[in-house]
C-alpha cells in the first residue's frame, strides 16, 4: 500500500504528561508499521517552537501530504498545528489530531499498558482518517457595517445609540407611532424615583438627533433574508390608512428589542379597572392625577408563579414597593399593605429598597398559594403565614401586581428571523450562561424584556451588551467561514427539507433549480459543521465535510481492527 498520500505522525510526550503513562516509544514503533506512514517523530513538546518547526521541516523535506499529531487535545491545540501546516504550504484540513493525553494518559493513569494499547488504536484510527482527508476551502464574505434594531423602547434606542456613536449606521424600527416603549406610560422609576418619561424623552432626543440612526416609526419588519454580515430586510409601514410604504435595507447584524406586555388579570381577584386595578394602571393614575385612596392593598404574583405561568416576573415586587412609597409620599397617612409570597429584591440596591419600604411603614404580609387572598366588596381576606392567622383588611383600592408576558407577535418575528422562543414566548438565547444575548444564528442578538422580565438597570446593561456583540461582527470587513461545513450532492438531493428543519443555525435552504425541482443549498458562512443535517438526510445527499461517512467508517473499522 505505498500509493496514497504520504503521512507523517508526530507523537508528543507532553513532558511526562503523556510519556509518564503511555509507552511513547512503543507507539512510535507501531506508527511506523501503519500503511501510508512515511515519517514518525517523537517530540518532548510538539507544540513548542521546536516541535512546530519540525512539522514544517518534515512537510518540506519529507514531502508529507498529511500530518497527524498525537498529543493533548484539539480543543486548545488544533489551531496551532493547523497553522503550522498552512505555513508550510499544506492545506490545514489535511491535518488530523489524535488525543492521547485526555483520552489515554490522563484517564488511564493507573494502567499504563492499557493506555499504550489505546494510544495505538487511536493513532491507527487517525492515520486511516488522514488518508481520506480532503483539502477544504474557507470562504469569505463582506460585512455590511450597519445594524437593524427592532423595537424602539428604551432598550432598542440605547443599543442603537451605542452602535451609532461607534460609527455604524443603524435602522431602528418601531411598531408604534412614537419611540419610547413602556416607559412612556410609567410614572417614577425605582430605585431612584426619577421620572420615567423624562429619562426616556432624553434618549428619544439623542436618537432623533443622531444622523447615523434612521428611525422608522409605525413600521414593522415584513421580511428577512440573508445571513450574518448580509441580511436583507424589508420594512413595511403599518400606518392607517395603509400607505403601502416599503423600504429594503441591507444590514450586517440585527438586535431584537421588542419588549413585553403587561398581563391583564381578567377574572382574577375581582379585577374591574376601578377599585381593583393593576400596578400599571396605578402608575397611569399617578401620572394623570387620578389617584385617590387612603387604604391600599397590593397583591403580588397575580397570574405569576402559578401552574399555568410558573415563572417569576422579577420586576413586580420592586414595582409594588415603588408605588407603595409613592402613595406614602402623596398621602403620608395612607395605609399600604403588600401581600407577597417571596420578596424578589435581590442584590444590593433592591434589598436596600425593600428595607426602605419597611422603614417607611409599608406592611408586608406573606401569603401562600395554599390560602390565596380573597377580595370581597369591603376587605381583602388573607391568611398571614408568618402570624398564622386570617386577617381582613378594609380597602379603598386593590392593586394587582401582574407579570410581564411575551408579546403576541414575538413568535411571528422569531419565525421570520429563524430564531427560537421559549415555552413562555420569550426569545431564547444561544446559551443561558455564556451567550445570554446571542442567538445560535450568527449576527442576531436580543436585549430587554423581549428576552425576560428585568429591571431597567439590567435591560440597559443588555442594550449595551447586545450592541457590543453586534459590533464584534460589524467591526470586521469580512468574515471567514470554516472549511468544515456540510456539502450537498445535488444529484442525490430530493428537496425533502429535512436538513432545513434540523439545522439550528439556518444554514441549509431549498432553492428552486427548475420549476417544481428543489434542492438544498448550504450557506457555508452560517454552517457550523455540526453534521445534524447529514444525519437527517434520508438519501445521503448531505455530507459533513471532514467527517464524511467514508472517513468515519474507516475509523470505526480501524478501531475494530479490520
Amino acid at each position: 500500500m505505498s500509493e496514497g498520500p504520504r503521512i507523517g505522525v508526530f507523537i508528543c510526550h507532553c513532558g511526562s504528561n503523556i510519556a509518564g503513562h503511555v509507552d511513547v516509544e512503543a507507539v512510535e514503533a507501531y506508527a511506523r508499521t501503519l500503511p501510508g506512514v512515511v515519517f514518525v517523530q517523537r517530540n518532548l513538546y510538539t507544540c513548542s517552537d521546536a516541535g512546530l518547526s519540525e512539522i514544517k521541516r518534515a512537510i518540506a523535506e519529507e514531502g508529507l501530504e498529511r500530518v497527524v499529531v498525537a498529543a493533548c487535545t484539539p480543543r486548545t491545540h488544533e489551531p496551532l498545528f493547523q497553522e503550522a501546516c498552512r505555513e508550510a504550504g499544506l492545506n490545514p484540513y489535511l491535518f488530523e489530531f489524535v488525543n492521547i493525553r485526555d483520552q489515554c494518559s490522563w484517564v488511564h493513569m493507573q494502567e499504563p499498558e492499557a493506555a499504550t494499547e489505546k494510544a495505538k488504536d487511536l493513532v491507527r484510527m487517525g492515520v486511516v482518517k488522514a488518508r481520506l482527508l480532503e483539502p477544504l476551502e474557507e470562504q469569505e464574505v463582506e460585512v455590511e457595517p450597519a445594524a437593524l434594531v427592532v423595537g424602539g423602547g428604551m432598550i432598542g434606542m440605547t443599543a442603537a445609540l451605542n452602535l451609532a456613536e461607534r460609527g455604524f449606521a443603524v435602522r431602528l424600527v418601531e411598531r408604534g407611532p412614537r419611540l419610547g416603549g413602556l416607559l412612556l406610560r410609567l410614572d417614577k422609576l425605582y430605585p431612584t424615583h426619577e421620572d420615567a418619561r423624562a429619562l426616556v424623552a432624553k434618549r428619544v432626543a439623542e436618537v432623533e438627533a443622531h444622523d447615523r440612526i434612521e428611525v422608522f416609526t409605525s413600521s414593522v419588519v415584513s421580511e428577512i433574508k440573508g445571513f450574518v454580515g448580509n441580511y436583507e430586510v424589508k420594512i413595511t409601514s403599518n400606518r392607517q390608512p395603509a400607505t403601502g410604504n416599503q423600504h429594503s435595507l441591507r444590514v450586517g447584524a440585527i438586535i431584537v428589542a421588542t419588549g413585553a406586555r403587561v398581563f391583564k388579570p381578567e377574572g382574577l381577584y375581582g379585577y374591574d379597572g376601578q377599585r381593583v386595578i393593576t400596578q400599571f394602571e396605578l402608575e397611569e393614575r399617578f401620572r394623570t392625577g387620578g389617584f385617590d385612596a387612603e387604604r391600599v392593598v397590593m397583591i403580588q404574583c397575580v397570574g405569576a408563579r402559578i401552574p399555568e405561568r410558573p415563572y417569576c416576573s422579577r420586576i413586580c415586587c420592586t414595582t409594588a414597593i415603588k408605588n407603595a412609597l409613592q402613595i406614602r409620599e402623596r398621602q403620608p397617612h395612607a395605609q399600604v399593605y403588600i401581600l407577597y409570597r417571596d420578596t424578589e429584591t435581590q442584590g444590593t440596591r433592591y434589598e436596600a429598597y425593600y428595607t426602605r419600604a419597611r422603614e417607611a411603614g409599608i406592611q408586608f404580609i406573606r401569603y401562600s398559594l395554599r390560602h390565596p387572598p380573597e377580595v370581597t366588596d369591603e376587605r381583602v381576606v388573607v391568611y398571614d403565614e408568618l402570624l398564622g392567622a386570617r386577617l381582613g383588611i378594609p380597602y379603598d383600592l386593590v392593586v394587582l401586581s401582574t407579570p410581564l408576558v411575551a408579546c403576541e407577535d414575538a413568535r411571528e418575528l422569531a419565525q421570520m428571523l429563524k430564531v427560537p422562543v421559549d415555552e413562555h414566548g420569550f426569545f431564547l438565547e444561544a446559551h443561558v450562561k455564556l451567550r445570554p444575548l446571542d442567538f445560535a444564528t450568527d449576527g442576531i442578538y436580543v436585549a430587554g424584556t423581549a428576552r425576560w422580565p428585568a429591571h431597567l438597570e439590567e435591560t440597559i446593561t443588555q442594550a449595551y451588551g447586545a450592541a457590543a456583540r453586534a459590533a464584534t461582527i460589524l467591526s470586521k470587513d469580512r468574515i471567514t467561514s470554516s472549511g468544515v461545513v456540510a456539502r450537498v450532492d445535488e444529484a442525490l438531493c430530493r428537496g425533502c427539507s429535512r436538513c432545513v428543519e434540523v439545522c439550528e443555525f439556518g444554514a441549509p435552504s431549498l432553492i428552486e433549480t427548475a420549476p417544481g425541482m428543489k434542492v438544498a443549498r448550504v450557506n457555508p458562512v452560517m454552517c457550523k459543521g455540526c453534521g445534524a443535517c447529514a444525519a437527517a438526510c434520508p438519501t445521503g445527499a448531505m455530507t459533513a465535510m471532514h467527517f464524511t461517512d467514508e472517513q468515519v467508517t474507516a475509523m470505526v473499522r480501524a478501531a475494530l481492527g479490520h
Binding site: 513532558g15 451588551g465 457590543a468
Partner: protein, 429 residues
C-alpha cells in the same frame, strides 16, 4: 489610544476582553493570580442548566490566550493610572513567577519533585499543593509559579529540586518584579467578589464543627477535580454525606454584617442540592431559607424540578445556631416559619451560603484608579448607567459592582466592552 485595559480575569473580565478583541481593539488583561478563570473555575456545575463550569469556561480562557488582540498579564496588578478618558497611561506590576513563561509548558515534572507542601487555595485549603504549582489543571497560561512564601530555595537558598527536574530549564530564581506601562483609551474593572468568612458568626459553628463548610468549599467537594475527586465525602472522616442542610443568607440580609442580599445563593444552594442527588439518589437535602429568590430566566422552573424530581426539601425558617453531636454530625436549630415553633435537625454536612462580599483589594485598586465605592464596598455605579463608574472612561462589570450570577456578569461584561469601545475609536472606519 485604541487599546483597553481590563482588570480581573474572571468570567466578566474574560468576556469583556474577548468582545473588545473581537471588535479589533487591543486589550491588556491583567489578573492578580497565576491563571485567569476567577471563581467560575472553582465551581462544579452551574445553574440553571447544570453544565460543567470548567467545560464551558475553559474554551473561553483558551480563546483569550490565543487571541491576537489580547495580551495576558497574569500574576500582575495595576499600580498606577494617569491621564484621562481616551488617553490613560497605566502601570502594570508583574510579580516574578520564578519560572520562564516562554519555556514552561506546565508539564508539572518540577512539582512532583518539590518537597514543600502548601495548602491549596484553589481547593479552599482542603488539599495540599507544592511550592511550585499550576494554579489548577486547566490554568491559562499553562505555566508553573513558585510560591515565594513556601519555596525552600527562596527562603533558605537550599533545595532547587525543581531546577533539576525541569527538562526545559524554565526555572529562573533571578526573576524580578517588573513594571510595564501601557497606553489605553478606557479601563474595565472586573475584580469580582470574595466570600464572607463565617467565623464572624460563631452560632453557625464553622470553626467548632468540622462538618460545617462553606458553599464554595462544597463546590470543590463535589467537583471531579476537587480534593475527593467528586465523591461527596466529609473531609473530616471520609464518611459519605447522606443528609445535608443548606443554610441560606449566612451574613447576608443581616444588619450586623451585610445588609444586602447576595443574589445567587438561593439558586446555588438549589443547584448544590441537585448535585448531591445526582451523586447519590439516596441523599436527602434541606434548604433553610427566609425568602426564596429565583427570578432569573428559567430559575423557578429549576427550583420546581429540584423539589419534584430530586426531592429537595425547602424549609422556610430562621436558623438560630448549629451544634454537633459526638460523631461530629451538625445539628441545626431553627424556628420553622410554618409552625412558628423551634425545631432541630441533625445532618451529616451543613453548608453555609455565605455572602458574596467585595474583595478587600478592590478598595485599594479603586484608589489607584480614582473611582468611588458604594456604601457596601462594591464599585459604585448608577442604576441607569449601570456599567459606568464615577470616573469617565472607567467601567465595571461582574461581581465587583455587586453580587451577580454568571449570566448577569457576562451581560455586564459585554456592556462594559461596548461602553469602553466608544472611547477608543473605530480603527479603520
Amino acid at each position: 489610544m485604541g487599546e483597553v485595559l481590563v482588570i480581573g480575569g474572571g468570567i466578566a473580565g474574560i468576556q469583556a476582553a474577548l468582545d473588545l478583541a473581537d471588535m479589533g481593539i487591543q486589550v491588556h488583561l491583567v489578573e492578580r493570580l497565576p491563571s485567569i478563570g476567577g471563581r467560575m473555575a472553582q465551581l462544579d456545575k452551574t445553574f440553571p442548566t447544570n453544565d460543567c463550569s470548567t467545560c464551558i469556561l475553559s474554551p473561553k480562557m483558551n480563546d483569550c490566550a490565543r487571541h491576537p488582540n489580547i495580551t495576558l498579564h497574569t500574576y500582575a496588578e495595576v499600580t498606577g493610572l494617569e491621564g484621562e478618558v481616551g488617553d490613560f497611561s497605566a502601570t502594570i506590576l508583574k510579580h516574578p513567577r520564578y519560572v520562564d513563561e516562554t519555556k514552561c509548558t506546565g508539564c508539572g515534572e518540577c512539582a512532583q519533585k518539590c518537597p514543600a507542601r502548601v495548602p491549596d487555595t484553589f481547593d479552599m485549603g482542603m488539599r495540599r499543593r507544592r511550592a511550585i504549582y499550576l494554579y489548577f489543571s486547566q490554568a491559562v497560561p499553562q505555566v508553573m509559579t513558585i510560591d515565594p512564601d513556601h519555596c525552600i530555595y527562596l527562603r533558605r537558598s537550599k533545595c532547587g529540586a525543581c531546577v533539576l527536574a525541569c527538562q526545559r530549564e524554565a526555572i529562573d530564581f533571578e526573576q524580578k518584579a517588573r513594571t510595564v506601562c501601557v497606553n489605553v483609551g478606557a479601563v474595565v474593572v472586573a475584580t469580582g467578589y470574595d466570600f464572607f468568612d463565617p467565623r464572624g458568626l460563631a452560632q453557625f459553628g464553622y470553626e467548632r464543627c468540622p462538618n460545617v463548610i462553606t458553599a464554595l468549599e462544597y463546590e470543590r467537594l463535589v467537583s471531579a477535580s476537587g480534593p475527593t475527586e467528586g465523591h461527596l465525602l466529609r473531609i473530616s472522616d471520609g464518611r459519605p454525606a447522606k443528609r445535608i442542610g443548606f443554610i441560606q443568607c449566612v451574613g447576608s440580609r443581616d444588619v450586623r454584617h451585610q445588609r444586602f442580599c447576595s443574589a445567587v445563593c438561593c439558586m446555588h444552594s438549589s443547584k448544590q442540592a441537585v448535585l448531591a442527588a445526582e451523586h447519590d439518589a439516596g441523599v436527602e437535602s434541606y434548604v433553610f431559607y427566609t425568602d426564596f429568590r429565583a427570578s432569573g430566566k428559567g430559575f423557578r422552573e429549576y427550583v420546581a424540578r429540584a423539589e419534584r424530581e430530586y426531592g429537595v426539601h425547602y424549609v422556610r425558617s430562621r436558623v438560630a445556631r448549629i451544634t454537633e453531636d459526638g460523631n461530629h454530625n451538625p445539628s441545626i436549630h431553627y424556628e420553622d416559619a410554618e409552625t412558628s415553633r423551634p425545631a432541630r435537625m441533625t445532618v451529616d454536612l451543613a453548608v453555609l451560603a455565605t455572602s458574596l462580599i467585595p474583595r478587600p483589594t478592590t478598595a485599594a485598586l479603586a484608589q489607584v484608579l480614582g473611582i468611588e465605592m458604594d456604601p457596601y464596598g462594591f464599585v459604585r455605579t448608577e442604576p441607569f448607567s449601570p456599567v459606568d463608574t464615577t470616573r469617565p472612561g472607567i467601567f465595571a462589570a461582574g461581581c465587583c459592582r455587586g453580587p451577580a450570577d454568571i449570566p448577569e456578569s457576562v451581560m455586564q461584561a459585554s456592556a462594559a466592552a461596548a461602553r469602553a469601545a466608544r472611547f477608543v475609536g473605530r480603527g479603520n472606519r
